[in-house]
């Protein structure tokens, strides 16, 4: 899937989740925020990441 297709898919998923958790009226009010969020998610999803890169939760405080 190309980047724009992925962004549209994320927007649709976010909209569906927002309707389910927040109600259709509130999801509609959040339409622009959902579009913005879909853009961020696309960047996170497509950025090249090392397969061995584990997540840092508490940022390894080197304690």
């Amino acid at each position: 899937m190309d980047r724009e297709g992925l962004r549209a898919e994320y927007a649709a998923c976010l909209r569906a989740a927002a309707e389910r958790r927040l109600g259709a009226a509130r999801a509609q009010e959040l339409a622009q925020t959902i579009e913005d969020c879909a853009g961020w998610l696309t960047e996170v999803a497509t950025f090249p990441l090392g397969v061995d890169e584990a997540p840092a939760f508490y940022l390894e405080a080197e304690s």
């Binding site: 509130r26 996170v44 508490y58």
Partner: protein, 446 residues
């Protein structure tokens, strides 16, 4: 000299030498607040009775030659998301109306244990996000002081307090400090305990400090930093004497991050470049440095991490009081509720990759340098652009802003220095050296 203009180190020294009484200092600051805070609106709550009581006790102890610590008798303020035992802590939110914690945040408790006097609580944007505080910038009342630590920056700049706690999740301590002509430090993640600080993003919340000199933030950081067993993110790395470390200041090796200069407005780029030239003429070794590839993704990753963690931190309160939340924080929580979990974890992986890629750059230089903000403090209520702080918040790296000049319209600008994790001592020494060359910001005329 008017007592309200005393910096923290000078006040502490004068109290120890018994030429200044904490009672007189507190009264001078309360009078200053009474006179000008109607215009600035930095304070959410001034604890007049508590501060006077503590000042009398500090004065009595000093007279007997008893000093609790290096900040004995020195007043400070705390952003209104820091718990303060017996004092309202409302985080700028109706959802927290009349909440009174029964214990102090660890950071507040540490300053008190060192003899400092909590004068009151300082306005914040709602829950330290974007819905603005009423506070105005002392350099120009039509401008924002920045946020979210709006009251902290404005109160220190307006000489209502010498020292204040702020916090930074994205850009909320260093940016307002710069907009108000202050020194502001955001130490390494885990350096200062966040226990008792209302959370926004568990893995990106940092406690920071603002003052009018590098010496002052160094002294306060020495006191506030250190392991807290009640904070799961608190580091055990030993805390050096940051103030003593400033005696080792020397011309630093600086990596200049050109990407930030290119994103800055023309006036900011010009004034910062002039400051860099002055540092170079004074002996700093300055080279251009380039941010690593993952820099491109850190804004997206930070968005995903903060929204997801904000939704978790606020889940219980939001379920009961959603209607009391203002629009910015409300939509942040709501988006956090629907972001897929796999992408939250992927954002955490991006963060780790970015930290790893930054390491060689940080090892090559004593510090990296950027303009602190892309523009001076903007007019209006919106709290400004946090993008120049975001990479150091997401990566947990220490950063500090030092004033570097005024725009033609008289608004302060700063340079931001960044270094490797837990290298606050050399970072502060480099900042003090830069401060020596560039001079301290003057006071706003009020």
């Amino acid at each position: 000299m008017s007592l309200h203009t005393l910096d923290a180190v000078d006040a502490a020294r004068a109290i120890r030498e018994k030429v200044l009484s904490p009672v007189d200092l507190v009264e001078a600051l309360l009078e200053r607040i009474e006179r000008i805070d109607g215009r600035i609106q930095a304070w959410a709550l001034v604890d007049r009775d508590g501060a006077r009581r503590a000042a009398r006790q500090a004065t009595d102890e000093a007279a007997r030659g008893t000093f609790r610590g290096p900040l004995h008798g020195v007043p400070f303020g705390a952003k209104d998301i820091f718990y303060s035992a017996g004092l309202r802590t409302e985080a700028g939110s109706k959802a927290m109306a009349d909440f009174v914690p029964d214990y102090d945040a660890t950071s507040v408790a540490r300053l008190k244990a060192a003899g400092a006097i909590l004068l009151g609580k300082l306005h914040t944007t709602e829950f330290a996000t974007t819905d603005p505080a009423p506070t105005r910038n002392p350099w120009s009342l039509v401008c924002t002081p920045g946020g979210s630590s709006s009251g902290s920056a404005a109160a220190v700049a307006a000489r209502m307090i010498p020292l204040a706690f702020g916090t930074q999740t994205i850009g909320s301590n260093v940016r307002p400090a710069s907009y108000c002509g202050l020194v502001g430090v955001k130490p390494t993640f885990g350096r200062i305990s966040t226990r008792g600080v209302i959370p926004l993003s568990y893995t990106q919340d940092h406690v920071g400090l603002m003052a009018r000199s590098v010496e002052d933030v160094a002294l306060a950081l020495s006191v506030a930093a250190g392991h807290d067993p009640d904070d799961p993110s608190s580091s055990r790395v030993p805390v050096p004497d940051y103030l003593a470390g400033l005696t080792r200041r020397r011309a630093p090796r600086i990596g200049l991050l050109r990407e930030f200069f290119e994103r800055a407005g023309a006036d900011v780029a010009d004034i910062t470049a002039q400051a860099v030239n002055r540092l170079a003429r004074a002996g700093a070794q300055i080279e251009e440095a380039k941010m690593p590839p993952t820099f491109r993704a850190v804004a997206a990753a930070a968005y995903v991490i903060t929204r997801s963690e904000t939704a978790s931190a606020h889940a219980e309160r939001f379920a009961l009081k959603a209607d009391l939340y203002r629009p910015g924080i409300r939509s942040s929580i709501e988006m956090g509720m629907v972001i897929p979990g796999d992408l939250y974890v992927r954002a955490l992986r991006i963060r780790r990759q970015f930290r790893r890629e930054m390491r060689p750059l940080l090892e090559r230089y004593d510090c990296l340098l950027t303009p602190t903000t892309p523009t001076p403090a903007p007019e209006g209520m919106a709290t400004g652009d946090a993008s120049f702080q975001l990479p150091w918040s997401i990566s947990g790296l220490p950063s500090i802003t030092v004033p570097c000049g005024l725009t033609t319209s008289g608004l302060p600008l700063g340079i931001q220095l960044v270094s490797g994790q837990f290298t606050e001592a050399p970072l502060l020494a480099a900042a003090a050296w830069c401060e020596d060359i560039l001079g301290r910001a003057s006071a706003p005329s009020l």
